[in-house]
Amino acid sequence: MSEITAEQVAHLANLARIALTEEEIAHLTTELGQIMQAVEKVGEVATPDVPPTSHPIPMQNVFRDDVVGDDVLTAEQAVAGAPEADGSRFVVSAILGEEQ
């Protein structure tokens, strides 16, 4: 059974850009460990003859026609919920050198 370590929690927090205190890391390590244990119960019924699946319902090839829809937003609508915008674009704090 896999254990969640404090290092893993700190690493995930770093990836997600969430600042955590040592106390929070310890707390989340315990909580995430419990969640993992709960999820791993699935392993008890998944015998080797059950193939792993990413989709529980046997459906495939659900496609959309290549036609512009009627749900296209205006720029005003697009930025309406943004904490900050310049009228048509979202304003975010500059993030250095981390383009993907």
Binding site: H11, L15, A16, R17, S54, H55, M59, Q60, N61, V62, F63, R64, D65, D66, V67, V68, G69, D71, V72, L73, T74, A75, A78, V79, G81, D86, S88, R89, F90, V91, V92, S93, A94, I95, L96, G97, E98, E99, Q100
Partner: protein, 505 residues
Amino acid sequence: MARAALMDFDKALELFEPVIGLEVHVELNTMTKMFSSAPNPANSAFHVAEPNTLITPVCLGLPGSLPVVNGEAVRSSISLGLALGCEIAPSSRFARKNYFYPDLAKNYQISQYDEPIAFDGEVEVELENGRVFQVPIERAHMEEDAGKLTHVGGSTGRIQGAEYSLVDYNRAGVPLVEIVTRPIFGAEADAPALARAYVSTIRDIAISLGISEARMERGNLRCDANVSLRPRGQEKLGTRTETKNVNSFRSIERAVRYEIQRQAAILADGGSITQETRHWHEDTGTTSAGRPKSDADDYRYFPEPDLLPVVPSPELIEELRAALPEPPAARRRRLKGEWGFTDLDFQGVVNSDLLVEVTQTVAAGATPAAARKWWTGELARIANAQNVDAASLATPEHVAELAQLVDSGTLTDRLARQVLEGVIAGEGSPQQVVDARGLAVVSDDGALIAAIDEALASQPDVLAKIRDGKVQAAGAVIGAVMKAMQGKADAARVRELVLERATTD
């Protein structure tokens, strides 16, 4: 930024073997995006748009919105995979690539990971020097493009020194196919040229399939170049760098060459290469270090729960395979043979991007030589002077008609150039311009003979010389006649008639 030490290119090749790998992103030109019904800016119909006007709630990852796969994008991806000689996966699925950067609002990119739609291909690439390579393709997978950030503040507009960034999500969700090669060995000194020719071949394939506008300057086609060096005789691959932001065919060649020279200097000096992303700078012709590969590259891929597997039927795959156009390299070889061009003449057509126009002009009835001459000569010259594409000046049908008017003797080359001016100015077809401007060659021998007799009579000394057998003296009379006919005569016919009149009188 300190300038990196570079080793002489030939010297670097003596000491090291370059190994390259190329990742090319092709933006598909479907009407809508990969997973949303928003208009696709990579389709020329929506190329010009105000920020954040080509988006739906799906593009923003708004709560409650769900992606649905664009069927046409899947067909395009399969066609591209087949054209790259790939196997098409009987079943493939999408995956989430998780990262936190505001170019995508969802905090993940929908891509494909362990089950790409196409894999194990091979592309034939011919270099300008005639060498032919089979470039091995590892995979081609479907994904979505990211939005565009504009960094504000600081002096350069680049990331460093920016105070905040403005985000436009129009490009977020544009359908992409990422094509990844296996490591390419054996190119040696041709490695930079091969990188360029490979991307150019991918562009030709995409255009012939009609699945992408494939314009590098618009970002429809983007290339990341991986370069590593290994000392001669060493089996193990060297550490590679990945150069991004290479936005023209010329830059690809330069960037690969630069990395070979830069890495060689470091290795020869006893240093080691840092595995990192590097950015190409068009202005200085150099690369600079970007983000080091680190645990920030932990993308925690997992199967995309919102999308179902793509399982193309064998019938669909065979239908798309049957519809594939001739591969660009084979097509070029065929055309070159059919047209009987020299290497130089054919390369001239290819390098001026006029292969399509010349092909269509030949199809419209012109001889290959005439089609080549008009497109790469007069039309390319005018296009260059006006800074437009030659293809925008005249249609292949008009050029073919013009060539036929010359062949039939209705026009001389000089008159044909005037007719072409009229065609470019929008005065109609070549025949219409000939009629409207009265430019046809005077083929009425009677009118020519009258002008010749007059010219001979006014130059009795010339007449005497011709009668003495000094045929070259006829030039003066021919010139006078051509002038009298305002250029609208066939000089060869005039010469024939001058000699006839001078000697039979």
